[in-house]
Protein backbone atom coordinates (compact mmCIF):
# COMPACT_ATOMS: atom_id res chain seq x y z
CA UNK A 1 0.00 0.00 0.00
CA UNK A 2 1.07 3.58 -0.59
CA UNK A 3 2.87 4.87 2.51
CA UNK A 4 0.95 8.15 2.63
CA UNK A 5 -2.37 6.36 2.46
CA UNK A 6 -1.16 4.02 5.20
CA UNK A 7 -0.23 7.02 7.39
CA UNK A 8 -3.65 8.51 6.83
CA UNK A 9 -5.49 5.31 7.76
CA UNK A 10 -3.29 4.62 10.80
CA UNK A 11 -3.79 8.08 12.26
CA UNK A 12 -7.48 8.01 11.43
CA UNK A 13 -7.74 4.85 13.50
CA UNK A 14 -5.83 6.51 16.35
CA UNK A 15 -8.04 9.61 16.13
CA UNK A 16 -11.24 7.58 16.12
CA UNK A 17 -10.42 5.47 19.14
CA UNK A 18 -8.69 7.81 21.57
CA UNK A 19 -10.74 9.19 24.38
CA UNK A 20 -9.34 11.80 26.74
CA UNK A 21 -6.98 13.80 24.56
CA UNK A 22 -3.36 13.67 23.52
CA UNK A 23 -1.86 11.93 26.54
CA UNK A 24 -4.17 8.97 25.98
CA UNK A 25 -2.98 8.84 22.37
CA UNK A 26 0.71 8.36 23.11
CA UNK A 27 0.65 4.63 23.88
CA UNK A 28 -1.52 4.02 20.82
CA UNK A 29 0.85 5.92 18.54
CA UNK A 30 3.75 4.00 20.01
CA UNK A 31 2.13 0.64 19.32
CA UNK A 32 1.05 1.44 15.77
CA UNK A 33 4.13 3.31 14.59
CA UNK A 34 6.88 1.25 16.28
CA UNK A 35 5.50 -2.24 16.70
CA UNK A 36 2.99 -2.71 13.90
CA UNK A 37 4.34 -0.55 11.08
CA UNK A 38 7.97 -0.26 12.19
CA UNK A 39 8.21 3.25 10.76
CA UNK A 40 10.24 4.62 13.67
CA UNK A 41 12.13 3.16 16.63
CA UNK A 42 11.37 3.61 20.35
CA UNK A 43 14.00 6.31 20.84
CA UNK A 44 12.65 8.39 17.95
CA UNK A 45 9.09 8.12 19.26
CA UNK A 46 10.00 9.22 22.79
CA UNK A 47 11.83 12.24 21.34
CA UNK A 48 8.77 13.07 19.27
CA UNK A 49 6.51 12.86 22.32
CA UNK A 50 8.80 15.14 24.33
CA UNK A 51 8.85 17.74 21.57
CA UNK A 52 5.09 17.49 21.01
CA UNK A 53 4.59 18.32 24.66
CA UNK A 54 6.94 21.27 24.60
CA UNK A 55 5.61 22.96 21.47
CA UNK A 56 2.33 24.86 21.26
CA UNK A 57 -0.83 23.23 20.04
CA UNK A 58 -2.68 19.97 20.69
CA UNK A 59 -0.24 17.16 21.53
CA UNK A 60 -2.05 14.73 19.21
CA UNK A 61 -1.64 16.98 16.20
CA UNK A 62 1.99 17.76 16.98
CA UNK A 63 2.77 14.04 17.24
CA UNK A 64 0.87 13.15 14.06
CA UNK A 65 2.59 15.87 12.03
CA UNK A 66 6.00 14.85 13.36
CA UNK A 67 5.57 11.10 12.72
CA UNK A 68 4.16 11.80 9.25
CA UNK A 69 7.07 14.06 8.34
CA UNK A 70 9.73 11.64 9.65
CA UNK A 71 8.12 8.74 7.81
CA UNK A 72 7.22 10.25 4.49
CA UNK A 73 8.12 13.94 4.27
CA UNK A 74 5.74 16.86 3.80
CA UNK A 75 2.95 14.86 2.18
CA UNK A 76 3.21 12.31 4.98
CA UNK A 77 2.81 15.11 7.55
CA UNK A 78 -0.32 16.34 5.75
CA UNK A 79 -1.84 12.87 5.57
CA UNK A 80 -1.15 11.94 9.20
CA UNK A 81 -2.53 15.28 10.48
CA UNK A 82 -5.62 15.01 8.31
CA UNK A 83 -6.11 11.45 9.53
CA UNK A 84 -5.96 12.34 13.22
CA UNK A 85 -8.32 15.32 12.86
CA UNK A 86 -10.97 13.85 10.56
CA UNK A 87 -12.78 11.45 12.97
CA UNK A 88 -13.10 14.17 15.64
CA UNK A 89 -14.35 16.65 13.12
CA UNK A 90 -17.01 14.35 11.68
CA UNK A 91 -18.23 13.05 15.04
CA UNK A 92 -18.43 16.49 16.64
CA UNK A 93 -20.16 18.04 13.62
CA UNK A 94 -22.80 15.35 13.80
CA UNK A 95 -23.28 15.66 17.57
CA UNK A 96 -23.40 19.43 17.40
CA UNK A 97 -26.16 19.36 14.78
CA UNK A 98 -28.25 16.95 16.83
CA UNK A 99 -27.47 18.62 20.17
CA UNK A 100 -29.09 21.91 19.26
CA UNK A 101 -32.43 20.14 19.03
CA UNK A 102 -31.74 17.81 21.94
CA UNK A 103 -30.94 20.51 24.45
CA UNK A 104 -34.50 21.77 24.40
CA UNK A 105 -35.62 18.36 25.69
CA UNK A 106 -36.08 18.34 29.45
CA UNK A 107 -34.11 15.20 30.48
CA UNK A 108 -31.21 16.29 28.29
CA UNK A 109 -31.17 19.67 30.00
CA UNK A 110 -31.15 17.97 33.41
CA UNK A 111 -28.43 15.57 32.31
CA UNK A 112 -26.19 18.49 31.37
CA UNK A 113 -26.83 20.14 34.71
CA UNK A 114 -25.40 17.05 36.38
CA UNK A 115 -22.56 16.77 33.89
CA UNK A 116 -21.40 20.31 34.67
CA UNK A 117 -20.53 19.27 38.20
CA UNK A 118 -18.52 16.36 36.82
CA UNK A 119 -16.58 18.57 34.42
CA UNK A 120 -15.36 20.48 37.41
CA UNK A 121 -13.99 17.22 38.84
CA UNK A 122 -12.23 16.41 35.56
CA UNK A 123 -10.60 19.85 35.41
CA UNK A 124 -9.51 19.48 39.03
CA UNK A 125 -7.85 16.18 38.19
CA UNK A 126 -6.04 17.67 35.17
CA UNK A 127 -4.91 20.50 37.44
CA UNK A 128 -3.56 18.05 40.01
CA UNK A 129 -1.69 16.02 37.37
CA UNK A 130 -0.03 19.07 35.86
CA UNK A 131 0.78 20.42 39.31
CA UNK A 132 2.57 17.17 40.18
CA UNK A 133 4.65 17.35 37.03
CA UNK A 134 5.88 20.81 37.97
CA UNK A 135 6.18 20.11 41.70
CA UNK A 136 9.02 17.66 41.12
CA UNK A 137 11.37 20.60 40.67
CA UNK A 138 10.10 22.30 43.85
CA UNK A 139 11.43 25.74 43.07
CA UNK A 140 9.89 28.83 44.63
CA UNK A 141 10.20 30.23 41.12
CA UNK A 142 7.67 27.67 39.78
CA UNK A 143 5.19 28.34 42.57
CA UNK A 144 5.45 32.08 42.02
CA UNK A 145 4.66 31.69 38.32
CA UNK A 146 1.75 29.37 39.09
CA UNK A 147 0.21 31.86 41.50
CA UNK A 148 0.88 34.84 39.31
CA UNK A 149 -0.62 33.31 36.15
CA UNK A 150 -3.67 32.18 38.14
CA UNK A 151 -4.34 35.66 39.50
CA UNK A 152 -3.66 37.38 36.18
CA UNK A 153 -6.00 35.12 34.18
CA UNK A 154 -8.76 34.47 36.71
CA UNK A 155 -9.11 37.80 38.50
CA UNK A 156 -7.43 40.50 36.47
CA UNK A 157 -8.75 39.05 33.17
CA UNK A 158 -5.46 39.54 31.38
CA UNK A 159 -5.46 37.81 27.98
CA UNK A 160 -4.01 34.31 28.45
CA UNK A 161 -1.76 34.83 25.42
CA UNK A 162 0.12 37.60 27.20
CA UNK A 163 0.40 35.48 30.34
CA UNK A 164 1.93 32.64 28.27
CA UNK A 165 4.39 34.94 26.48
CA UNK A 166 5.31 36.68 29.72
CA UNK A 167 5.90 33.47 31.67
CA UNK A 168 7.95 31.97 28.80
CA UNK A 169 10.16 35.07 28.68
CA UNK A 170 10.45 35.11 32.45
CA UNK A 171 11.55 31.46 32.44
CA UNK A 172 14.13 32.17 29.75
CA UNK A 173 15.62 35.15 31.59
CA UNK A 174 15.57 33.34 34.92
CA UNK A 175 17.41 30.31 33.55
CA UNK A 176 20.03 32.51 31.84
CA UNK A 177 20.66 34.46 35.07
CA UNK A 178 20.86 31.26 37.12
CA UNK A 179 23.38 29.74 34.77
CA UNK A 180 25.56 32.81 35.14
CA UNK A 181 25.42 32.58 38.92
CA UNK A 182 26.38 28.94 38.82
CA UNK A 183 29.39 29.57 36.62
CA UNK A 184 30.43 32.45 38.91
CA UNK A 185 30.20 30.07 41.86
CA UNK A 186 32.71 27.67 40.35
CA UNK A 187 35.28 30.41 39.69
Amino acid sequence: MNKNLELFLTFMKIGAFTFGGGYAMIPLIQKEVCENKKWLNEKEISDIVAISESTPGPIAINAATFVGYKTSGFLGACMATLGVVLPSFLIISLISMILTHFQSIRPVRYAFMGIRAAVLALILKALWMMFHQVKKKKQPFSYAIMGLSLVLTAFLKIDAVFVIIGCGLFGLIWSLLNRKEQSNGTD
Partner: protein, 188 residues
Amino acid sequence: MVLIKLFLAFLKIGAFTFGGGYAMIAMIQAEAERQGWLTQEELVDFVALSESTPGPLAVNMATFVGMRTCGVLGAIIATLGIVLPSFIIILIIAKCFEKYEKSKAVGGIMSGLKPAVVGMIGAAFISVTRTVFFPSGISISVFSSAGFWIFLGLFAVTTVLAFKKVHPIKIIILSAVIGIGAGYGLGL
Protein backbone atom coordinates in the same frame (compact mmCIF):
# COMPACT_ATOMS: atom_id res chain seq x y z
CA MET B 1 -16.18 38.65 8.76
CA VAL B 2 -17.24 36.33 11.58
CA LEU B 3 -15.41 33.53 9.76
CA ILE B 4 -12.18 35.52 9.68
CA LYS B 5 -12.53 36.36 13.38
CA LEU B 6 -13.20 32.69 14.13
CA PHE B 7 -10.15 31.60 12.15
CA LEU B 8 -7.86 34.17 13.78
CA ALA B 9 -9.15 33.39 17.27
CA PHE B 10 -8.42 29.68 16.91
CA LEU B 11 -5.13 30.35 15.17
CA LYS B 12 -4.14 32.35 18.24
CA ILE B 13 -5.37 29.64 20.60
CA GLY B 14 -3.51 26.96 18.62
CA ALA B 15 -0.30 28.95 18.63
CA PHE B 16 -0.31 29.68 22.36
CA THR B 17 -1.72 26.55 23.96
CA PHE B 18 0.87 24.56 25.81
CA GLY B 19 -0.06 21.43 27.72
CA GLY B 20 -3.16 20.19 25.93
CA GLY B 21 -6.89 20.80 25.88
CA TYR B 22 -7.52 21.87 29.47
CA ALA B 23 -5.04 24.71 29.20
CA MET B 24 -7.17 25.97 26.30
CA ILE B 25 -10.31 26.49 28.33
CA ALA B 26 -9.24 29.81 29.82
CA MET B 27 -8.31 31.10 26.36
CA ILE B 28 -11.47 29.93 24.58
CA GLN B 29 -13.49 31.44 27.38
CA ALA B 30 -11.87 34.86 26.98
CA GLU B 31 -12.34 34.84 23.20
CA ALA B 32 -15.93 33.61 23.37
CA GLU B 33 -16.76 36.26 25.96
CA ARG B 34 -15.19 39.04 23.92
CA GLN B 35 -16.96 38.00 20.71
CA GLY B 36 -20.20 36.87 22.34
CA TRP B 37 -20.01 33.46 20.68
CA LEU B 38 -21.25 31.32 23.55
CA THR B 39 -22.35 31.38 27.15
CA GLN B 40 -20.37 30.00 30.08
CA GLU B 41 -22.84 27.11 30.36
CA GLU B 42 -22.37 26.17 26.71
CA LEU B 43 -18.61 26.21 27.16
CA VAL B 44 -18.78 23.84 30.12
CA ASP B 45 -21.10 21.54 28.14
CA PHE B 46 -18.60 21.54 25.26
CA VAL B 47 -15.81 20.50 27.60
CA ALA B 48 -17.97 17.58 28.78
CA LEU B 49 -18.82 16.52 25.24
CA SER B 50 -15.22 16.86 24.09
CA GLU B 51 -14.18 14.60 26.96
CA SER B 52 -16.71 11.95 26.05
CA THR B 53 -16.09 11.85 22.30
CA PRO B 54 -12.94 10.43 20.68
CA GLY B 55 -10.11 12.62 19.42
CA PRO B 56 -8.01 15.49 20.72
CA LEU B 57 -9.88 17.81 23.12
CA ALA B 58 -8.65 20.87 21.25
CA VAL B 59 -9.98 19.73 17.88
CA ASN B 60 -13.30 18.70 19.41
CA MET B 61 -13.75 22.08 21.08
CA ALA B 62 -12.75 24.04 17.98
CA THR B 63 -15.16 22.08 15.81
CA PHE B 64 -17.93 22.62 18.37
CA VAL B 65 -17.47 26.36 18.72
CA GLY B 66 -17.10 26.78 14.94
CA MET B 67 -20.21 24.75 14.24
CA ARG B 68 -22.25 26.65 16.81
CA THR B 69 -21.10 30.03 15.54
CA CYS B 70 -21.16 29.57 11.75
CA GLY B 71 -22.31 26.07 10.83
CA VAL B 72 -20.21 23.59 8.84
CA LEU B 73 -18.03 26.28 7.28
CA GLY B 74 -17.34 27.70 10.74
CA ALA B 75 -16.39 24.24 12.00
CA ILE B 76 -13.93 23.78 9.13
CA ILE B 77 -12.41 27.23 9.61
CA ALA B 78 -12.03 26.89 13.41
CA THR B 79 -10.48 23.42 13.11
CA LEU B 80 -8.10 24.62 10.40
CA GLY B 81 -7.15 27.52 12.66
CA ILE B 82 -6.32 25.33 15.62
CA VAL B 83 -4.33 22.82 13.54
CA LEU B 84 -2.30 25.20 11.38
CA PRO B 85 0.15 26.64 13.97
CA SER B 86 1.04 23.16 15.28
CA PHE B 87 1.51 21.87 11.77
CA ILE B 88 3.83 24.65 10.68
CA ILE B 89 5.84 24.77 13.92
CA ILE B 90 6.37 21.01 13.97
CA LEU B 91 7.47 20.96 10.32
CA ILE B 92 10.11 23.57 11.10
CA ILE B 93 11.27 21.73 14.24
CA ALA B 94 11.34 18.37 12.47
CA LYS B 95 13.81 19.87 10.00
CA CYS B 96 16.22 21.14 12.64
CA PHE B 97 15.40 18.58 15.29
CA GLU B 98 18.72 18.04 17.11
CA LYS B 99 19.33 21.72 17.69
CA TYR B 100 15.91 22.24 19.24
CA GLU B 101 16.23 19.30 21.58
CA LYS B 102 19.50 20.43 23.14
CA SER B 103 18.74 24.14 23.19
CA LYS B 104 19.10 25.66 26.66
CA ALA B 105 16.77 28.49 25.64
CA VAL B 106 13.92 26.04 25.01
CA GLY B 107 14.50 24.48 28.43
CA GLY B 108 14.39 27.91 30.05
CA ILE B 109 11.20 28.93 28.28
CA MET B 110 9.56 25.63 29.26
CA SER B 111 10.51 26.14 32.91
CA GLY B 112 8.35 29.26 32.82
CA LEU B 113 5.54 27.81 30.70
CA LYS B 114 4.82 24.63 32.65
CA PRO B 115 3.85 26.36 35.91
CA ALA B 116 1.95 29.00 33.91
CA VAL B 117 -0.20 26.25 32.41
CA VAL B 118 -0.97 24.97 35.93
CA GLY B 119 -2.05 28.48 36.93
CA MET B 120 -4.24 28.83 33.86
CA ILE B 121 -6.00 25.51 34.41
CA GLY B 122 -6.56 26.76 37.97
CA ALA B 123 -8.15 29.89 36.53
CA ALA B 124 -10.40 27.74 34.32
CA PHE B 125 -11.38 25.76 37.40
CA ILE B 126 -12.39 28.93 39.25
CA SER B 127 -14.50 30.26 36.40
CA VAL B 128 -16.22 26.91 35.82
CA THR B 129 -16.95 26.73 39.57
CA ARG B 130 -18.68 30.09 39.34
CA THR B 131 -20.75 28.92 36.36
CA VAL B 132 -21.78 25.63 37.90
CA PHE B 133 -22.54 26.68 41.45
CA PHE B 134 -23.33 30.38 41.21
CA PRO B 135 -24.93 30.94 37.78
CA SER B 136 -26.74 34.03 39.00
CA GLY B 137 -24.04 35.42 41.26
CA ILE B 138 -22.89 34.57 44.76
CA SER B 139 -25.62 35.21 47.31
CA ILE B 140 -26.98 33.73 50.54
CA SER B 141 -30.08 32.34 48.78
CA VAL B 142 -27.89 29.99 46.71
CA PHE B 143 -26.89 28.09 49.82
CA SER B 144 -30.52 27.43 50.78
CA SER B 145 -31.38 25.73 47.48
CA ALA B 146 -31.42 21.91 47.42
CA GLY B 147 -29.94 21.91 43.91
CA PHE B 148 -26.75 23.57 45.15
CA TRP B 149 -26.12 20.87 47.76
CA ILE B 150 -26.98 18.02 45.40
CA PHE B 151 -24.48 19.28 42.84
CA LEU B 152 -21.88 19.94 45.51
CA GLY B 153 -22.30 16.29 46.60
CA LEU B 154 -22.08 15.16 42.98
CA PHE B 155 -18.89 17.19 42.53
CA ALA B 156 -17.37 15.53 45.63
CA VAL B 157 -18.25 12.03 44.39
CA THR B 158 -17.01 12.62 40.84
CA THR B 159 -13.79 14.11 42.18
CA VAL B 160 -13.09 10.95 44.18
CA LEU B 161 -13.88 8.82 41.10
CA ALA B 162 -11.66 10.94 38.86
CA PHE B 163 -8.73 10.61 41.25
CA LYS B 164 -9.33 6.86 41.45
CA LYS B 165 -8.71 6.87 37.70
CA VAL B 166 -12.26 5.93 36.74
CA HIS B 167 -12.71 6.62 33.03
CA PRO B 168 -14.13 10.12 32.28
CA ILE B 169 -16.91 8.67 30.11
CA LYS B 170 -18.21 6.58 33.00
CA ILE B 171 -18.07 9.62 35.28
CA ILE B 172 -19.99 11.73 32.77
CA ILE B 173 -22.66 9.06 32.26
CA LEU B 174 -23.12 8.68 36.02
CA SER B 175 -23.48 12.41 36.58
CA ALA B 176 -25.93 12.70 33.68
CA VAL B 177 -28.15 10.10 35.34
CA ILE B 178 -27.91 11.87 38.71
CA GLY B 179 -28.67 15.19 36.98
CA ILE B 180 -31.83 13.75 35.42
CA GLY B 181 -32.91 12.27 38.77
CA ALA B 182 -32.27 15.51 40.65
CA GLY B 183 -33.96 17.62 37.98
CA TYR B 184 -37.19 15.63 38.13
CA GLY B 185 -36.97 15.08 41.89
CA LEU B 186 -36.72 18.80 42.60
CA GLY B 187 -39.19 19.71 39.87
CA LEU B 188 -36.81 22.26 38.34
